[in-house]
Symmetry: D2
Subunit: 344 residues, 4 copies
Amino acid sequence: MQALILEHAGKLAIRDINIEQTLGRDDVKIAMRNVGVCGSDVHYYKHGAIGPFIVREPMVLGHEASGIVTAVGDNVTHLQPGDRVCMEPGIPDLKSRATLEGKYNLDPAVSFWATPPIHGCLMPEVVHPANFTFKLPDNVSFAEGALIEPLATGMQAADKARIRPGDVAVVIGAGTIGMLTAIAALAGGCSRVIIADLVQEKLDIAARYDAVTAVNIARDNLAESVASLTDGWGAQVVFEASGSPKAYANLFDLACPGGCVVLVGMPPQPVTLDIVAMQAKEIRIESVFRYANQFPRALALLGSGKLDIKPMISGVFPFEQGIEAFERAARAEPSDVKVQISFE
Amino acid sequence: MQALILEHAGKLAIRDINIEQTLGRDDVKIAMRNVGVCGSDVHYYKHGAIGPFIVREPMVLGHEASGIVTAVGDNVTHLQPGDRVCMEPGIPDLKSRATLEGKYNLDPAVSFWATPPIHGCLMPEVVHPANFTFKLPDNVSFAEGALIEPLATGMQAADKARIRPGDVAVVIGAGTIGMLTAIAALAGGCSRVIIADLVQEKLDIAARYDAVTAVNIARDNLAESVASLTDGWGAQVVFEASGSPKAYANLFDLACPGGCVVLVGMPPQPVTLDIVAMQAKEIRIESVFRYANQFPRALALLGSGKLDIKPMISGVFPFEQGIEAFERAARAEPSDVKVQISFE
Amino acid sequence: MQALILEHAGKLAIRDINIEQTLGRDDVKIAMRNVGVCGSDVHYYKHGAIGPFIVREPMVLGHEASGIVTAVGDNVTHLQPGDRVCMEPGIPDLKSRATLEGKYNLDPAVSFWATPPIHGCLMPEVVHPANFTFKLPDNVSFAEGALIEPLATGMQAADKARIRPGDVAVVIGAGTIGMLTAIAALAGGCSRVIIADLVQEKLDIAARYDAVTAVNIARDNLAESVASLTDGWGAQVVFEASGSPKAYANLFDLACPGGCVVLVGMPPQPVTLDIVAMQAKEIRIESVFRYANQFPRALALLGSGKLDIKPMISGVFPFEQGIEAFERAARAEPSDVKVQISFE
Amino acid sequence: MQALILEHAGKLAIRDINIEQTLGRDDVKIAMRNVGVCGSDVHYYKHGAIGPFIVREPMVLGHEASGIVTAVGDNVTHLQPGDRVCMEPGIPDLKSRATLEGKYNLDPAVSFWATPPIHGCLMPEVVHPANFTFKLPDNVSFAEGALIEPLATGMQAADKARIRPGDVAVVIGAGTIGMLTAIAALAGGCSRVIIADLVQEKLDIAARYDAVTAVNIARDNLAESVASLTDGWGAQVVFEASGSPKAYANLFDLACPGGCVVLVGMPPQPVTLDIVAMQAKEIRIESVFRYANQFPRALALLGSGKLDIKPMISGVFPFEQGIEAFERAARAEPSDVKVQISFE
């Protein structure tokens, strides 16, 4: 079976690899269709490691995936061959305390595609647990289906915020996750999202959506924009999705009394926070690690047409040009949100 | 000053009345523009009483209102003459325990327009506390402004439900409140609203909205429709907005495990509930009494264009024809959602 | 292996039965010590069925259990032979949607001891999943360990109430579950629990606890007692633990504005509720079905000495006299809270 | 009227001062009994300012108070002369948005005793709004009554944590607020509180309480103690009550997956936080600014005997020796929790 393989830092290959995959009673077999290139894939490609996760042997990349069911295990009833599906890439230990408490994303024993030493899914066929495989609504394409994984992170952020109907949200950072958080927050109950970035091309894509206000912080003062759009009260929710330590400098100026800050971006080093400023407004901070139980919610919003993620798909490369897809993703072009690879 | 007055049950008049209104330091004076006719206004008109609230003396009707500020008290800074506004009709005792706990709608000492013995606002000019008077966004008309009061009840229902992004909701009853609850729930984060009624004309209005599924329960089985639209899981939220005791018979069949039922409609007599069916799914029931802190949320959603209530305005009568407006509202025509009276 | 078996309605036997139990990799083997007699065990004994669950073949009774680990499967690391433990009797499908959402008690596929056709644990040895087996703190006896299962229902009720520190609670019904709910609510943050029953003997046991006020409703008016103890405001939480439809008549009079009612008792038929009275206070109703993730919480409270359940253990019979234990439990003596059977 | 006055930084006096206090319709007049010396009083004494709040004119100190009602305004019904009471020292603008939303402590217009330019209450008589004056239960002394103000901060922290019954909590810092937070958390539902400090005398006081584990971090590793007491899972709640920036270094190691950190202490400068460590456990951070609606909760817990704050009262000085009281408080003796001044 051909797969897109990270041989070691800096070296990709499309070549044969022998990966044993047995269809268990609770599994499905899936012919792959679209796979998105994630920032983490690119990071492994460039650096060979993310924190404690080090690529020590050749590893198949990819974890944002859609496909078609080709076979189902004996116990599987909700899926059948021919079903168009997307897959949740992290499988927790179902017996763990974290899983039983409904936070399976926090189970340290989770096995996650393309996180060493686990292979990813950039290959023509995978076997996957049926209960982490979800049917796509008819109006959702395979390209959109492969975007649901990063969207699920935005959904987790919107969910953690406990948005109340009509809340105003700020999203700092218009990268892929910031963008998907913004539209999840809008679909999830916000009246308006103010999205901030330094890159005008990204803001232009965000501004295509109704009820989004894009602020270029190279030019405009974000706190003033927020004050002006909220009669000086501040936003009920602030999503930090840039991962930039600078964003933390005046984070609490953006929020209203009793407001919430959700930390989605992962800053490369510890950040400095003004605790007294946080306390003066009794601000709550939530943090996000991937997602739990968000795929069905994302699919419901896509299925009903409330959420449109098509503008997020910037380019789709055939599998044979998968390495070019990685190179384009690695260039991080200002107008790119998501690059994908297709097996069709 | 001319006002629309309920002389006694069954007898309306437009005539002069002398009502003293002094502009206090924290008040504003408002020239009235639109006033909606509420079911409670009609009920007082027909029956002269609602429960313990009995009309014993002539009373001005009306509590759904918009207008223009004409004067402001000395302490008022956020409003000025010329501002287009809507008004929250219930003023609690600000010192009460309920108010300090953020539930001012539950303060028994609340003074509410057109609830005997308090006069309503169907007159050309009112004085009102500035902190219960809200500026209309430029894109919100006076007619829409006068709809915010009933919309606030729908917002309260959506807020109480603690909708999580992508939840599916059922709304039982497509009357004014059911309809406004449905669109509040959609704007407030639901992926889809399934609205049920016996009257096709009302369902046709609801079905104009995206992501609304209208079910005529004269013809179709609601529980089956919900099961089919939720893969058999049930809806995360069920709003009971009909007030019909019959609706309670299989309420819990509609909800998913761990789901929520929000009681908005007011049944005329006690209802029968199957507690064991409720427990088997650990369902939570919330109940709604008017609203607290919902006007700013409703205005934010209208201002950003996420909420469209224009299809709800069925007819606007000039003040001189105010009694005709009441008669039309009293007929409860199947295609009417809201009838208003205008002072322009 | 000898077991206490329900042959059919009305007929118990202690006799040999052949039940195959294989120790899987994630299981433990347990030598049984104490098993409590539950109301449901008695109900099966008397009637042969509970709702749709019908005893069609001889079934071992019992599901409230403690014991000693005698062997562990290969994957088990947190338990070892010799550990004193208690066991959660319901094992859900770990792959189900309800489980992944953290509500495994609502999984319809749960397999629960002594719920036909599943055998219970009134036998000398059982094999059980290790992740539903919990180590007893040193200060917790086997008798107390076998009480944790019903206590977990009280904990679930207290948890659902979302008690805020200092809340006043009312518990209606001083049966086993009412009593355990009362002390769970006290340990769980209430300042005071007002417990109501008709049986003075039960109230006398409850009144042994600090901060419990016992009200005999054969003699005193509960709503007046609550008003007097809460300065007329009402209780923040009302637990209905009697299952008596009569208790529903004035349930909402007991609660404060914005208060919560938790339905723990299971009324034998549908009940009548005054919805408008509920709405006037915007009361929230929660309902309880067994428990999820409560054993560790109950054990933490017992281990630290904050919770004392010893007064709840009314009598312990040796296994050979197990049928006498059932007969005593079936008599429902006023001063009995919990009767147990011991294998020691 | 004699009062304890801060003339300027470093200079206290007990002398006559003329402060006009008119009894309004919603006010009560109170003869002062006990007043606690707060860290903020001492800070003003030593430094003449706290952040933007600068003492520019002589100011009466003190805001932790109990007394006896001597007169009541015309509208006051729940209090009468002779009532033993304690007083909430911060009066918000009741018309503000923060107040209507139930967060009156966050109203920037709050007027707070002994926060310049507002006089405190270290004088024989004060006039105060009746709805911020609370009757003491019979079993609560004046000394305890004057401790309710700082206890209310601990209650606010415990409330914000949303403790679930049986949670384990860590409290970092055994100063007055840390100590009161610890006992509020225990009364509020925790099974155990692990309190950490460098000062053994303070830990000895904390260790008098059941279910408190005191850890001297000069000697022992807190993270290891927490792991050992929680089977390696971590604490559900961590209260930071030291205000020490060092405490932030490994804050997230103490919490369990999905746990909560509550920031009560106010660090003198911004702190450094490891956001990725926070995200890996999806930790939530809450922050506390004084309190809202906590006096009734604190009084309920004291009244029922669930909370014992008597060990916190380290010394009571007669008013004439009030300056000595300040000097002792300023010395911050290791075994002192709270020093008070009495008018009796």
